[in-house]
């Protein structure tokens, strides 16, 4: 099993969700973060205080998948989140030792080898 952590543009979230849905990837978690990368900083002014905003709004996705779905999911994200402009974000694939489903305590080790090709 792997945990895919993806940082994308907020305006691309819905497209990514749709792409993952098409790829039959269902479970995922989303959070608002701020990122710093190669993008131009914004300058803001509040009365006499002028600041350079080093951080930009991004969305972080966390998706636990079994091995056969890693590439499917990563590719779905890479396609759907892509604009070609600086700031598109990154995808990390992390190893996972164990996964548990809280609802029924399924210890999902055996679960890492589902049927590789979706339905």
């Amino acid at each position: 099993m792997k945990l895919i952590v993806a940082v994308i543009r907020p305006e691309k979230l819905n497209e990514v969700l749709k792409a993952l849905y098409k790829a039959e990837v269902r479970g995922l978690s989303v959070s608002r973060i701020q990122g710093h990368g190669g993008e131009t900083d914004e300058v803001e002014t509040y009365r006499g205080t002028t600041v350079r905003m080093k951080l930009q709004e991004k969305v972080r996705l966390e998706i636990g998948v079994s091995e056969p779905f890693v590439d499917v999911a990563v590719n779905a994200i890479l396609d759907a989140a892509h604009t070609g402009e600086i700031g598109d974000g990154k995808v990390f694939v992390l190893p996972v030792d164990h996964v548990y489903r809280i609802r029924n305590r399924e210890a999902d080790r055996a679960a890492v080898t589902p049927i590789p090709n979706p339905d």
Partner: protein, 460 residues
């Protein structure tokens, strides 16, 4: 509110009482100010709940503006302010018939329509006050039905008893209760109803197991500011003219909450070492609720004392209530009910027939001036009104409960009533919100689209 002559047969208002521009101007603005108390209340209450119920809580106030506003104009006003019945008015003003641009009463100097509009704003906010007791769990439609019935069956009669020439009102020869701007009519009725409603509905699922904290204290303070602003209209407007009594009520509505705020802050400081913002907001409202029945009858120095006294019962009642199973969630009884009771009783103590040589219409000398009898009348009114509101609220809710569920479902309570009952969120970024075409729109919440059940990849 003083209408000693309201009990005269209304047809006898022949002598063409004159309109007064200044009084008209004042009463228009007073009416507008009282109306704005309801959005103020929406923010006061709405800030005290969790964000998932912020809209539902606010909507309980806003919807009252619509539903009670219309109902009152059509029926309620007539029930409260027509005829010379002891218990209830008649249908003379049904649908605003005979409610016109001339003063209706020789003692009035403003159009009868304006009097009606002013009263409408009172009729709106009173049931909205109750909502604080049953936030975060009551079904919205049930709430609407409940306040509609309550407005007709509790508020209108009690308003008639005390202000409409009924058996508790001064002119009627019977009792002569003094309630300048609604200590009994508004705050005791709503406060006791809150108690009953909270008991009948039962506590929120998480009550006393989790900390249920205010999601937005600035909104509570904003609501407080709007309430205080509006309360000047509420209390000083109850003189129905821009006259010295209005000024008296006005000044008292400034001073009493100041004093309540100081005492509450000191209590906070002695108890926990820290003055709290939610406490301060509460103190202001308690000070205002308590001075309400007394505003036009007591001297400003008495208002300071009344405000200071007001802090005690409410402060300790709130502390005590939180340890019980009674989930009067936003402490409507402790703030408004007790405020109304304290104020009604203190009227009997501090009221004055004249202040600085200026006679105070509708007032008399109270216990402090050596006349304890008014205190008895006030106590009677507290008892009767409290009891009536309690019993009637109980009956109404039991009846309503036969027709429809009182509470939202457990799932709606978990996810929040905003999504569950209104299909909206107070604060949203729109993330993960997929546009739905019209034909896809379900009447209620929908399940995931059907189709080949996807394998959840992390599962087997």
């Amino acid at each position: 509110m003083i209408h000693p002559l309201l009990t005269l047969p209304t047809l006898a208002t022949a002598a063409a009482p004159a309109l007064n521009g200044a009084d008209t101007a004042w009463m228009m603005i007073a009416t507008a100010l009282v109306l704005v108390m309801t959005p103020g209340l929406a923010f006061f209450y709405g800030g005290l709940v969790r964000s998932k119920n912020a809209l539902n809580t606010k909507m309980m106030s806003f919807a009252a503006m619509g539903f009670i506003g219309v109902l009152w104009a059509l029926i309620g006003f007539s029930l409260a302010f027509s005829g010379d019945g002891k218990w209830i008015g008649n249908f003379a003003y049904l649908g605003l018939r005979h409610v016109g641009l001339a003063p209706h009463d020789p003692a009035h100097t403003i159009p009868f329509l304006l009097f009606m509009a002013y009263q409408t704003t009172f009729a709106i906010i009173t049931p909205a006050l109750i909502s604080g007791a049953i936030v975060e769990r009551m079904r919205f439609r049930t709430y609407l039905l409940f306040i509609a019935l309550w407005s007709l069956l509790v508020y209108a009669p009690v308003a008639h008893w005390i202000w409409g020439g009924g058996w508790l009102s001064a002119g009627h020869g019977d009792v002569g209760v003094m309630d300048f701007a609604g200590g009994a009519v508004v705050h005791i009725t709503a406060g006791v109803a809150a108690l009953v409603a909270a008991s009948l509905l039962g506590p929120r699922k998480d009550y006393s197991r989790q900390a249920l904290l205010p999601h937005n204290v600035p909104f509570v303070l904003l609501g407080t500011g709007l309430l205080w602003l509006g309360w000047f209209g509420f209390n000083a407007g109850s003189a129905l003219a821009a006259n010295p009594q209005a000024v008296l009520a006005f000044v008292n509505s400034l001073l009493a909450p100041c004093a309540a705020l100081v005492v509450w802050s000191l209590l906070d400081m002695f108890r926990g070492g820290r003055i709290t913002a939610v406490g301060s907001a509460t103190a202001i409202v308690v000070g205002l609720a308590t001075i309400t029945p007394a505003a036009g009858f007591v001297a400003p120095s008495s208002a300071l004392i009344i405000g200071a006294i007001a802090a005690f019962p409410s402060y300790y009642a709130i502390l005590y209530r939180a340890k019980t199973r009674l989930d009067d969630s936003l402490d409507v009884f402790s703030a408004h009910g007790l405020g109304g009771i304290t104020g009604m009783l203190l009227v009997g103590v501090f009221c004055r027939a004249s202040i600085g040589g200026v006679p105070i219409p509708g007032s008399t000398d109270g216990a402090l001036m050596g006349h304890p009898d008014q205190l008895g009348r006030q106590a009677l009114a507290v008892l009767v009104v409290g009891l009536y509101s309690g019993v009637a609220t109980f009956v109404i809710l039991k009846l309503v409960g036969l027709v429809m569920p009182l509470r939202a479902t457990g799932r709606q309570e978990d996810r929040g009533l905003d999504i569950g009952l209104h299909g909206e969120e107070a604060y949203t970024t729109g993330e993960g919100a997929l546009l739905l075409m019209e034909h896809e729109r379900p009447v209620t919440t929908s399940a995931n689209p059907a189709g080949p059940k996807p394998r959840n990849l992390v599962e087997a």
